[in-house]
Symmetry: C2
Subunit: 209 residues, 2 copies
Amino acid sequence: MNVQDANSTAELSTPRRGKREQIVQAAVKTFLEHGYAGTSMNKVAEAAGVIKATIYSHFKDKQQLFIAIIEEMTIKKVAIDFTNPEPILSLEPDEFIDVLTGKFCVLMQDPEYHALFRLLVGESERFPELAEIYVRTVILRGMGLASKYFEVHKELNIEDPQAMAHICAGSFISLMVWQQVLGGKNIMTLEVGRVRETLKALLRGQRQP
Amino acid sequence: MNVQDANSTAELSTPRRGKREQIVQAAVKTFLEHGYAGTSMNKVAEAAGVIKATIYSHFKDKQQLFIAIIEEMTIKKVAIDFTNPEPILSLEPDEFIDVLTGKFCVLMQDPEYHALFRLLVGESERFPELAEIYVRTVILRGMGLASKYFEVHKELNIEDPQAMAHICAGSFISLMVWQQVLGGKNIMTLEVGRVRETLKALLRGQRQP
DNA sequence: GTCTATATCTAGATAGAC
DNA sequence: GTCTATCTAGATATAGAC
């Protein structure tokens, strides 16, 4: 019954990536969709097209599978968002806000990111290590970048660059939370562009020529 | 065996509030601690000191119990935070930010609120009605108040009061999320006061005397 | 490593006596 | 409404053949 055994070379419905990779992909999908407690090893096995025992030969138990999956995902998402360390520091303030907004819009349109956020927040008390990885790699890194900008650009007269970076980041991310994560985009109609322009105006106000 | 029957009048370990109230309190505690899927009717029954069947005589099933509990909790939390509609509109900008900050600090120090937030976010895809109630009653109401302030205070030259209100609220709430909900207060050391003062500075910059 | 088969437990939910 | 008792399904996890 199992035609695709061991080392067949060619094209198959779920191609030759090894069972482990199949399990990982299925686990990502299932955990993101149903949460930790809502995901059963049966569901994962079924979605992966393997038998349950196979999962246990690759991962010690459900917890370890979950941690491995989410940790990897969190780090992967960051890699996408923070690569190309373009010469951001040399931008004009308006351009800088535009770039920030652009990076944010990527997150805003990524349902997988929203699901990851739901999961990290929902499980943050039971899996604090994962929440910490997220804060470290996503939040602190993103804020560090913006913070550096406000620190360097003395003409903007920002007394507390870190707090200012937090205000920018917080404005955008909270918009994502209300509209996409919590699904309130129909009852809370505030466009990203309006936040962007208001931030620009605030920065102009600080400027002393 | 059940000494505290029907209409006894006096002091008992879990006093005379009726089984329903016992169930509600136990359910709140258990759901907040273990999440929806992580909570079993057995756990709730045990925590409430009743037998499982008793729960089913008050609530149709687990979903209905969950919805009833969370809906009530969400609304109750708002009641606390938005009562006393003090004459906020007549405050000076700095005072206004101080009041906002004060209200926010209450949330910042309320572990039950953080747990509720975790639950609402974590279950927002499976219980969108609850997420919507939260956005409507907490977020939109809070922002509406701030938005009105910026609308009225023309001297602040805020072109988009709604966006500005969102920036203020988003700065504060995202701080709560990183530090309390996700537990990152040790790796992300930004005090509320610094955000508060930076917001004040930004408003001063907009002002045209 | 991968499967078959199974052990063990706990889940949500209900029937029926009182 | 509340309890005892129980049904049935599905959970995590493993033993043992290949």
